[in-house]
C-alpha cells in the first residue's frame, strides 16, 4: 500500500509542474502585455514598471521565479490590473464562497444520487425505478447553465420564494439555487452509475449465496452489495469534482455569488494574466489532490487491487 501511495504521489508532482508550465507559457505567448494600452506609456516608465514586476528578465528566469514562488510560498504574485491587491488576496476572497456552495453541491449530488440509484436497482421495474431513470435521463441534458435560468424563472419570478442572486454571507436562501443548479446533472449521473453497478452486483453469485444462506435482505444489501457496487461511483467522483469546480464559474457569474469563478471570468476579459494563472493552478492543484484521494480510496475498497 505504501508503495502505491508513493508511486501515486510521484505522478501528481510532475502533473502539477506541467500544469504550471503550460499556463505560464500560454500567458507569455499572449500578444500584447498587461501594460499595453491605447495610449502607449513612455518607454522609460514602461521599463520601470516591467522591472518592478520582474518582466524584464529572461523568460526562463521568470518561469523559475514563478514556479519557485508558487511551490514554496503559495505566492501567486501581484495582480496586474488591481495594483493594490495580490492574487492571493483575490483568491482568499473568492475561494471560501466557492468552497461553501461547492461542498454542499457535492454532498447533495452524492447524498441524493446514491440512494436514488440504489433504490431504483433494488426495486427494479417498479414506478420508483422508472421515476429515477426518468429523472436521471432528464437531468443529463440540464447542465448548470440551463438549470440556473430555469430555477430563477420558477422560484424567483413566478413563485417569488428565493432571491435571484447575491450571497450575503451564504445564508440558506441564497445557497439553495446555486447548489441545485450546480449539482443536478452530477446527481443524475451518480444515480445512473449506482443503479447499473448495483444491478450487476445484485445479480452476481455471491449475493445468491448470501440469499441461499438465508441472510435477511437488509444485511445482504448493506454488508455485501453496497461496498462493491460503490466502486464505479468512486471512480466517477474525480470527473464529477472537475465538473463541479468548472461549473462554479457559471454559478458565480449567473447568481453573482462572488466566488472564484467571478474573478476568473473577470480577469479573462481584463487580460489580468496573473489572476487567471493563479486560479487555474489552484484549481489544478485541488483536482490533482482530489483524484489522489479518490485513487487511494478506490485502492482501499477494491479487494482485487493488491500491492
Amino acid at each position: 500500500m505504501l508503495n502505491y501511495v508513493i508511486k501515486r504521489i510521484a505522478i501528481a508532482i510532475p502533473t502539477m509542474l506541467i500544469l504550471i508550465i503550460i499556463s505560464f507559457l500560454l500567458m507569455h505567448s499572449a500578444p500584447g502585455g498587461p501594460f499595453t494600452s491605447e495610449r502607449p506609456l513612455p518607454p522609460q516608465v514602461l521599463a520601470n514598471i516591467e522591472a518592478k514586476y520582474g518582466l524584464d528578465q529572461p523568460l526562463w528566469r521568470q518561469m523559475v521565479n514563478y514556479v519557485w514562488g508558487v511551490t514554496t510560498e503559495f505566492d501567486f504574485g501581484p495582480s496586474f490590473k488591481y495594483k493594490d491587491r495580490t492574487v492571493n488576496e483575490i483568491i482568499g476572497q473568492g475561494f471560501p464562497i466557492t468552497l461553501k456552495y461547492g461542498f454542499w453541491s457535492f454532498v447533495f449530488a452524492i447524498g441524493i444520487g446514491i440512494p436514488l440509484g440504489a433504490i431504483a436497482a433494488i426495486r427494479q421495474n417498479t414506478w420508483i425505478d422508472y421515476l429515477a431513470v426518468g429523472v436521471s435521463i432528464g437531468a443529463q441534458v440540464l447542465p448548470n447553465f440551463v438549470m440556473a435560468p430555469l430555477l430563477v424563472i420558477t422560484f424567483t419570478l413566478w413563485l417569488g420564494w428565493l432571491p435571484g442572486g447575491g450571497w450575503s454571507g451564504g445564508s440558506i436562501e441564497y445557497l439553495i439555487m446555486p447548489v441545485i443548479a450546480l449539482s443536478t446533472s452530477y446527481m443524475a449521473s451518480i444515480a445512473r452509475i449506482t443503479r447499473s453497478s448495483m444491478l450487476e452486483v445484485l445479480n452476481s453469485n455471491f449475493i445468491r449465496t448470501a440469499k441461499a444462506k438465508g441472510l435477511p435482505s437488509r444485511t445482504i444489501l448493506l454488508r455485501h452489495a453496497l461496498k462493491p457496487s460503490m466502486l464505479p461511483v468512486i471512480s466517477y467522483l474525480g470527473p464529477a469534482f472537475v465538473g463541479l469546480i468548472t461549473g462554479s464559474v457559471v454559478i458565480d457569474i449567473y447568481f453573482s455569488t462572488g466566488g472564484m469563478g467571478y474573478f476568473f471570468v473577470n480577469s479573462a476579459t481584463n487580460r489580468d494574466y496573473s489572476v487567471m494563472m493563479g486560479i487555474t493552478i489552484l484549481v489544478g492543484f485541488l483536482t490533482i489532490m482530489f483524484s489522489l484521494v479518490v485513487d487511494l480510496l478506490y485502492a482501499w475498497i477494491d479487494p482485487k487491487i493488491r500491492y
Binding site: L19, A30, V250, M276
Partner: protein
Amino acid sequence: MIVANKEKIAEMAENLSGLDAVDGRSLWADARRRFTHNKAAVVSLVVLSMIVIFSFVGPYFAVWSNEEIDWAVMGSAATKGMPSFETGHFFGTDDLGRDIFSRVAQGTQISLMVGVVGAFIAVLVGTLYGAIAGYVGGRTDQIMMRTVDILMAIPFMFVLILMLVVFGRSIGMLFVGIGLLAWLDMSRIVRGQTLSIKNKEFIEAARATGVSGFKIIVRHIVPNLLGVVAVYATLLVPGMILTESFISFLGLGVQEPNTSWGALISEGAGTIQYDTEWQLLFPLAFFVTSLFCFYFIGDGLRDALDPKDR
C-alpha cells in the same frame, strides 16, 4: 509466377463479381437491424434530422434575417417583440429587435458544426495516438499513456479559457481547443482495442509480408476499430456541444455577429427579469432536444455495435 497468373486472376475476379451476392448478414447489417429496432434511437434520429434541416431551410422562411434589426421593436421587446405570425417574428425578438427565429437557426448551425468538427478532431487525434501507443507497445506505450494520464488530471475548461484569451476568441480556435482537449478518452479506448487486435493473425500476416508499421496501423488496425470509434464519436458530439455552450454562455466563445445555442441561452437568461421568457425558452428547447437525441442515438449505436450485450 504471380505476373504470369495475372490474366487468370482477372478472369477469376470477373467470375466472382458476376455471382449473385450471398444473402448473408454482415456485421453492419446486423447492427443496422438492431438499431432500427430501438424506437427511442430511431425517433431521435428523425427529430435530429428535422432540427438540422430546420437550421438550413428555416432562414428561407424567415421574414427577418439574423442581422436585421426591427427598429419598431427595439427597446420595448417585452411588449412588442413577442412571438407572433403578424410581425413575422415567429419566435419573438431579442432586446435589440433581432429575430430569434433566424438567430436560433444560425445558432443551431454553428453549435452543431462545433460539435461535429470538434468530435472529428478528437476522433482523428485520439484514434491515431491510441492506435500507435497500442501497436508499438513497450516503453513508447508507457510514456504515451502516462502523458495522457497526466493531461487528464488537468482541469481543461480553465486551460481552454486561457487559450481563448491568449490566442483570441474565434470559432477556429474553439474547434482546435475543444477538439484537442477531448481526444484523451478516445485514445485510451482505442489503445485498449488495438491491444486486442494487434495479435490477430491478419496483422501477423501483414507484418510477415513486410508492410510498414504505420501502414499496418492505418490500413489494418484503424478500420477494425471503426465500430467502437463510431459509438464514442456520437457520444462525443453532445459533449463538445456542451463545452462550446458553456464557454459561449460565459461570453468567451462564439462572438457576435455569429451566435450559438450557448450564446443565445446566455442572452435569454440575462433578460428573464423583463418578462421576455421566449428569448430563453426557444434556444433552450432546441439545445435540450438535440442533446437528448444525441444521447439516445449514441445509446442505440452502442447497443447495436457493442458485441458485449449481444
